[in-house]
Symmetry: C2
Subunit: 345 residues, 2 copies
């Protein structure tokens, strides 16, 4: 609050001002002064001085000496949907609550960018690295392992580090059940249900497909390969895939299991452009977006339980699981389908 020194104030400056020593100032400022038997009086004087002079600890120096950065790193595919942005926000909020600093980096679902981001995070000596939705989590876990840094997977599981993920199969089963219930209520053809979006090679998509298949099987419905279109997540891809599907089948599907809000964007756009009423198709989306809910109240969505997922993640940060390949599934919540409330239990 006082002088606008361009050289930042250090503990050495404070020590001089307080007629004390750097080690004492350090102990006072980092809270270890009681253990070091610094008198309360002196501690108080130094704290006031630091406050008055606007001292701020040089975290680089502290990190270097302590060999701990006090930073938690996270890599993330993107920020631009509610699921990932909420992951970033909740993660940051929880870390802040614990006085830990966070660094988040978007890697655009690109393995090369993932590796590069991980390399930087390791150079900054993050204490843990959270890999969210990583395309190649094991590669990163291996890098972290070599550097002696713990890594954790979120959203997509790996085999080389503990993973917190959504209960994709069970969630998909419930979402599919909700779609089928609606179809029955409408007396529509339950055969024409389309699963669209996602990547055939990613774990979540495979699990959701399996849940989709199982839910149908339990009602005696077969699932043909053409019922499933894993066209990647992008809106344009979903749009083109739906167009192709409709061209092939000659008509719209009766219901759709849309594998992300970004795919939903393409689907809805294509339907509107083609003059279709979105309400004519029963739609479920495995992800949640309140704006979509506002526009389309009959849309059924699976909202992944981000707060719980992050909480479990921090549990493992606090106490690493014995098994490095531990996998924890967190149940997502169905939204927008009142009829489902009893079924979900």
């Amino acid at each position: 609050m006082s002088s606008e020194q361009s050289r930042k104030l250090t503990i050495y400056d404070l020590a001089k001002l307080a007629n004390s020593s750097p080690s004492t100032v350090s102990a006072v400022l980092n809270g270890t002064w009681q253990r070091r038997r610094i008198s309360r009086k002196l501690a108080k004087r130094i704290l006031e001085l630091a406050e008055r002079e606007g001292y701020s600890t040089n975290m680089q120096a502290r990190a270097l000496r302590r060999d701990r950065s006090g930073i938690l790193g996270m890599i993330l595919p993107l920020y631009d949907n509610r699921y990932f942005s909420s992951i970033a926000q909740v993660f940051e909020a929880e870390a802040r609550r614990r006085g830990i600093f966070t660094i988040v980096s978007c890697t655009n679902r690109d393995p090369a960018q993932e590796r590069e981001a991980a390399r930087m995070m390791l150079a900054y000596r993050v204490e843990h690295l959270i890999c969210t939705g990583a395309t190649d989590p094991d590669a990163i876990a291996e890098m972290c392992g070599a550097a002696g840094i713990a890594s954790l997977n979120l959203d997509l599981p790996g085999t080389a580090a503990p993973s917190v993920i959504s209960a994709n199969r069970e969630g998909a089963r419930r979402l599919t059940d909700a779609l089928l219930d609606r179809l029955e209520a409408r007396r529509a053809d339950a055969a024409r249900v389309l699963f669209i979006g996602g990547r055939a090679e990613d774990h979540n998509t495979r699990e959701r497909i399996e849940g989709f298949r199982q839910a149908r099987e339990r009602r005696g419905l077969a699932t043909a390969p053409t019922d499933i279109v894993t066209c990647d997540y992008a809106a344009e891809k979903a749009q083109a895939a739906l167009e192709a599907y409709v061209g092939r089948e000659g008509r719209l599907p009766a219901a759709m299991f849309v594998n992300s809000t970004i795919s939903l964007e393409g689907i809805v756009r294509w339907l509107r452009l083609g003059g279709h009423d979105v309400n004519d198709i029963i739609m479920g989306c495995f992800d949640w977006d309140p704006l979509a809910a506002a526009f389309h109240p009959r849309l059924i969505m699976m909202r992944q339980d981000v707060p719980t997922m992050i909480a479990r993640l921090f549990d493992w940060i606090d106490v690493p699981p014995e098994d490095p390949a531990s996998r924890l599934e967190v149940m997502p919540e169905i939204v927008g389908d009142p009829a489902q409330v009893r079924v979900a239990g």
Copy 2:
């Protein structure tokens, strides 16, 4: 790639392995070896050794010695809309392209959190601090000034640091023009246009209101205080505000200028819950969301030009403006209104 040492490899280790000295290894690894006249042969040998042993520079040590962290900091209100998430992504991508590391922190439009985040960023000795949509940018600029760190404002302007913002007034004028054009085409009552959302105390909202007012004035339309409802951004607030407005006026507005996608969410939800057709009201939104566009093709949106804004920001990071209170306005683009294409020029 070799041993899984738990102690991280340092330049001292490499120096021993290479029969060289730490200073030489350092120069080789940080690229200053030519200036230090290290032979190409030795440099090559050391680089290969470092690669083989999986060396990674301890950035804390480097930052401490250089007195520069190589980190760019940004504070942001939220990630969860397309505007802010895109700011974070584009900012990070551009920084990455330049080999600079970034730290982004969400501060929930809360001045206390803003200050706390800034304090942490300064403790980590970020080289610049970008304050995006800060409620109190000048307070942060002052903190940065005292620490001898340059700060820049984005989205919301301040008086104590250079600011890159959207051309809110002109953008609002154009958006309002588009609404009024549609109203005329529909021969609807141009008096019943509602401006809704935002904060009366924030600069952007004030500017947009002024643009709104001017556009109407130019067509001979007066703007009453009741035509403007700055109920904050939250969906629930917008929902409640619209309900109150309709209760007061006895009918829906003919058109609405919605001041953010988050407010739009509340508006649309209220309309759907009340059984209204969103197409009955001519709507413009000052912000852009592709999912909203997909659901509501007649919605007119102002898409803020994030890439240009970030580019200008980096221009000022490279070459600080002479005037610390410089302000640069970047024109947003109107989306979803084909008729506007010629008017926009």
